[in-house]
Amino acid sequence: MSAVTNEWPLWEVFVRPKAGLDHKHCGSLHAPDAKMAVQLAREVYTRRQEGTSVWVVKSSDITASDPGDKGMLFDPMEDKVYRHPTFYELPESVNHM
């Protein structure tokens, strides 16, 4: 079996669909270096004008939250409804603010 170390490193690809929008994660690919990763991202993820700009980041450089911490990290926001504008009932005449 081929050793894993022979593989080109894994990169995450982010594409900006058009000017004015955020770059969005769209997938990953293997490439030997950043320059090649950009080139390959263009071939793989923008064959139909899906993008106007590409970011690539080495997957190993991404720090992600632990799925096991999902409850601890994100559930506390559940009871903070006062953070949303719809929480406040205002008189009809000023309700557009």
């Binding site: 079996m1 081929s2 050793a3 894993v4 022979n6 593989e7 080109w8 894994l10 997938g27 990953s28 690919l29 293997h30 030997p32 270096d33 090649m36 071939e43 793989v44 064959r47 139909r48 992600a64 632990d66 799925p67």
Partner: protein, 333 residues
């Protein structure tokens, strides 16, 4: 393109004895599946679910890559520059689809090299349809119409697969696949409507050869499918083989009328009561022969894959060596 009977792998013994902790994890997982939740890469999942997905996604990826070979056979002989450009774009798409799928499988903890090794070593399967030869230009059109058509029918339900990275890859693939089917039908339509008698006969001949293998792409009948029940339960599969096959027959029989070709099945008949087309028995013996490695092109396809991989080794190594050298240079500077 192309998953098919990707559940044709060997039956696996499931571990009978599990720890209490494992049983609890499994229970929580099943509950999430019942809620219709998506499973992400780092979420806990039963080992059997992981294994099933690695097998299915990697075999699906292999199919995309091997699927480039029968079409590549016609790139230099496409009848016009337009058709050549279309064919090249389609083949490039297949390569891209393979890549999306390999990436999805890698999220489950298998490496690209391991998957490629399994394919080249004959331990992993790919869709049996690619073990048939592309004898004429009409075959390229028929592959688009019938083979990609069958693939789309198989793949659309997979966009709702419980494993989210696979489902996301399938959304992208299905979006691109529609072009594949339409360009195939278009190529055939030109030959049937504007072509010579010989060209029309060529199209009919291609339909005759690809019809039954296309029906086999949906896999064995549900009653004989080894993994169907569990895969349905886990939301890896959403619609049964038989239902998908019927849907495909119903759709393509109508399309054949527009083309002016007939399907090579004397038993094909509209059934008023069922409101479906009845069709003749499928030669499953042939299917298992091809799956088992004895199709017309099995050896040739695999040899071409291995050769391409081996011939490209120096490029992969040189690119990596260059990258390492550049990185060292930057460190020193």
């Amino acid at each position: 393109m192309y998953t098919q009977a990707m559940d044709t792998g060997p039956k696996e013994e499931r571990k009978a004895v599990r720890s209490a902790e494992e049983a609890q994890l499994d229970q929580r997982f099943e509950a999430r599946i019942d809620e219709g939740a998506f499973i992400e890469a780092k979420d806990p999942m039963p080992e059997h679910y992981r294994k099933t997905l690695v097998r299915q996604i990697s075999q699906h990826a292999h199919s995309e890559i091997v699927g480039m070979l029968p079409e590549g056979n016609w790139v230099t002989r496409a009848p016009t520059l337009k058709r050549k450009a279309i064919l090249l774009a389609k083949i490039q798409d297949e390569g891209g689809h393979g890549l999306y799928l390999y990436a999805a499988a890698e999220t489950l903890g298998t490496s690209r090299d391991q998957m490629i090794d399994a394919l080249h070593g004959g331990r992993a399967k790919y869709s049996s349809i690619f073990n048939y030869p592309t004898l004429s230009w009409a075959d390229i059109g028929v592959i688009g119409w019938l083979v990609d058509g069958a693939a789309i029918m198989n793949q659309v339900p997979l966009t709702r697969c419980s494993y989210a990275p696979y489902a996301r890859a399938m959304v992208r693939i299905c979006r691109e696949e529609s072009f594949h089917q339409r360009q195939g039908f278009d190529a055939l339509l030109v030959m049937m409507k504007e072509g010579t008698e010989a060209q029309r006969a060529m199209v009919q001949d291609a339909v005759d050869r690809w019809w039954w293998p296309s029906l086999m792409m949906f896999g064995p009948p549900d009653s004989e499918s080894t993994h169907s029940t569990q895969n349905m339960r886990w939301g890896i599969k959403r619609i049964g083989n038989d239902d998908l096959r019927q849907k495909f027959v119903d759709a393509t029989v109508e399309q054949a009328k527009v083309l002016g070709v007939t399907m090579p099945d004397p038993l094909l008949k509209w059934n008023e009561e069922r409101a479906h087309w009845d069709f003749g028995p499928i030669d499953w013996e042939e299917f298992w022969q091809v799956v088992g490695g004895h199709g017309p092109c099995n050896r040739e396809r695999l040899a071409a894959r291995v050769k391409a991989w081996d011939d490209g080794a120096w490029v992969r190594e040189a690119a990596m060596a260059h990258a390492r050298k550049q990185a060292l240079g930057e460190q020193a500077a």
